[in-house]
Symmetry: C2
Subunit: 462 residues, 2 copies
């Protein structure tokens, strides 16, 4: 049986408002994975997805436990064994958001302004993940069948670097068996310039703490003979970079694979100017390693950032203490072939080597993720390019992403299948920032593209 | 009429438990001056003092408005114009405290453990201030009169550097007219080693903010070309000190008056060893300008401390952002003859000179206070020494304090009277720290010493 996409596309256009209201229900659930206080909301979100997929007629729908937050699984295998099976990966968890961070409206009460949905998770990843659910619904509600078999693997710990997903995949290799994996959790620079991400950066995320006195000290009584832990922290972190904006940690760049001229030429297709970068981010001036273009710095070069830092009195007014301790969160975006654990050791050794004897230093690994690099000349990638041409209306470019989706490397290596990253977001969606948003137009185009992709995959031989 | 201290001293011993319960009432009021959320508690504290002093029979008791928190005033002038008038200064406001900072018990529910009262403000300054109120009560309840006239000036903004006290004094010079001012808001190293502080450090307190992008950025999408504001802050603050632990700000030491050999010899009487300093503070090693002894660093040399610092994500787990901004609170303890406003300008100029063009820097003055230095060979000081000998049981030493009570310099210069700092606290009381406490024994000895001091002052001619 050959299933055409025509009726499904018509259905998706007719049901845009219904899809939106369903997405809003998801966005109202503050499914923060990094904070134990929200465990109940994570659970509620998983139950919502479970109920929703059951309602669409998927089979074998279940909330599957892990050592952390659960995976929601569902499948439709009605296309039969002669057809390909596509595994859709998405995540239903989000990063924190609070009105006081600068949100114009409640981050967990979605509102539409200028055709954009404002809510935490709108683009990362609830909106993008839902596109695939709606694409399958469009087929099932019109043709009663989809062109290929579809499995959903929806996790709740992506924003904390998926600590339990690798063991989950290892335990369920048969259940997750597929021919190709599709993930929509990346973005494009402009709505008419879609892209397929074939490379992602990895990550090493750590937390450091510098302890001095046994408690906060009165800076008048004791100041002058105690090495202030906040001062020690800034003196240490002030040595992370060299004057040329390269990372000063010995050995940090040792395993970085150099870019070829061909790769640099391809990256140049999506380069952005200093003016563009400044306009989107609002920085007063562009910064970085001047030997590389901006896009190279953002995607093909490793970074080392301070993500958070705290010490002493941070409330209003003055408080005259020498803080007992000072802490920072640091993370490094990695590229092939940097090993996240080796990088952690290098960072830890360096920090320990520059810590003075006036404090106690502790360095703790929070999360890691490997970088990923997928070839883009394979049939599953080329089928995705055709799906964009028909469903989105534009030919995509193949790009490197700067972010980290550790599961991409894991799925590719454990299930031995290509991972196709069809990002339906915009670079300017503000993910992880206040006022994260997602364009309704892109949500709709994404559903049509996802519909066409299933049809295109049906043309490929198993 | 000559009033003897005998009956008053007996009364004070008999009423220790009553005095303690009254102090507890004060300690239960969280009169934080630095946080607008506690304005109601500040008010409640002022009203408590107003009612209490009226109840003791003081005259002209009133809550007097300022541009900030009010002053509570009260007087007893029954000794007549032939006798000296002593102005007691104290403050009823406290610095913040929260159980999660490491308090063993609620900071605003005083409890006694091992003879010590644990509560925020127990030693700084509610307990010490109350000593003078109870000394006057002891005279009035026994003799019906005190040996000298007494005025109370109790303020509510000491912990935010008394921004409105100077204008208040200037407006009420007649009301506050006195022959000597006594302040109990300092401490001694050991209960049997009382001291009279004749020098205090001044202060310049500022807040700085480094802003980069217009909002928090996703470190994967944008990391590599944005100069992380937290990184900029640590790189800047990492340049506050030279390698020899002297302050790197140009001109910072220019106005510091050098210590004479005689002054160094006097300071040496109260020096403390590295082992002592480490034991009390818990630091792994002593730090500072090696050209000076520990006590000199703590009292006769200026400092520059980071009191607080914050940027980006500080909650549990990882969050992969480049923070929009990074902030710090800095304060400098000053010595004679450093001008707090000149020091602010030097700090601001230096920070601006080292800020890179990749960020926007703002430097804001929070508070200032002048250093103070009072001669110790005057009769009012010597009378205080005799009061310790009789009331406390030990001869005091004259010391330099490391903390800042800006009002000391103001009272001395505006009212043209000596200020005698009779500190009834212990260095290890943990003021401004979790588990601040005050010894009941010291509270009792303080009341007796204050009783004797009024008697001693009555011997001095006007």
């Amino acid at each position: 049986m050959t299933v055409s996409s025509d009726a499904a596309r018509t259905y998706s256009r007719a049901n845009g408002e219904k899809f939106l209201q369903e997405l809003f229900e998801m966005l109202r659930i503050p499914s923060l994975s990094g904070d134990p206080a929200y465990a109940g909301d994570i659970r509620r979100m998983a139950e919502w997805l479970d109920q929703h997929m059951r309602g669409l007629g998927l089979d074998n729908v279940q909330i599957m436990p892990t050592a952390g937050h659960p995976v929601v699984y569902g499948e439709w295998l009605g296309a039969g064994p002669d057809k390909l099976t596509v595994l859709v990966y998405g995540h239903y968890d989000v990063v924190p958001a609070a009105v006081e961070d600068g949100w114009t409206s409640d981050p967990f009460e979605p509102v539409v302004r200028d055709g954009k949905i404002y809510a935490r998770g709108a683009t990362d990843d609830k909106g993008q993940m839902f596109i695939h659910v709606k694409a399958l619904e469009a087929y099932l509600k019109t043709e009663g069948a989809a062109p290929v078999n579809v499995k959903f693997l929806l996790e709740g710990e992506e924003e904390v670097s998926s600590p339990n997903l690798t063991p989950f995949i290892e335990e369920h290799l048969d259940l997750l068996k597929a021919d190709v994996c599709v993930i929509s959790d990346t973005s494009m620079s402009h709505i008419d310039a879609p892209s397929i991400t074939h490379s992602l950066r990895g990550m090493t995320y750590l937390e450091i703490e510098v302890e001095g006195p046994k408690e906060d000290l009165h800076s008048g009584l004791w100041g002058g003979a105690a090495h202030n832990p906040a001062l020690v922290l800034v003196e240490m972190l002030g040595k992370l970079y060299n004057a040329d904006n390269t990372i000063a940690v010995p050995g940090f760049y040792d395993d970085v694979v150099s870019l070829t001229d061909e790769e640099r030429a391809m990256i140049a297709k999506t380069d952005l100017s200093e003016a563009d970068y400044k306009a989107v981010t609002g920085v007063p001036a562009v910064w970085g390693d001047a030997r590389f273009t901006i896009r190279e710095r953002l995607s093909a070069r490793p970074t080392l950032d301070i993500n958070g830092m705290w010490s002493g009195w941070t409330g209003p007014g003055p408080k005259t203490i020498i803080p007992q301790k000072a802490s920072a969160k640091l993370s490094s975006r990695l590229v092939a072939n940097q090993d996240p654990h080796k990088i952690f050791t290098l960072l830890k050794d360096y920090l320990e080597s520059i810590a003075p004897p006036t404090v106690k230093l502790s360095v703790r690994l929070l999360t890691t993720g490997r970088a990923a690099l997928i070839p883009f000349d394979i049939p599953e990638m080329q089928a995705a390019a055709r799906a964009y041409e028909q469903g989105w209306g534009h030919t995509p470019v193949f790009t490197r992403g700067g972010g980290s989706i550790p599961v991409v490397a894991d799925i590719a290596s454990l299930l031995h299948i290509p991972v196709v990253m069809m990002g339906y977001g915009l670079d300017s969606d503000g993910l992880h920032s206040p006022n994260e948003h997602y364009s309704i137009e892109m949500f709709a185009r994404g559903i049509e593209t996802a519909i066409v992709y299933l049809e295109e995959l049906a043309q490929l031989s198993r």
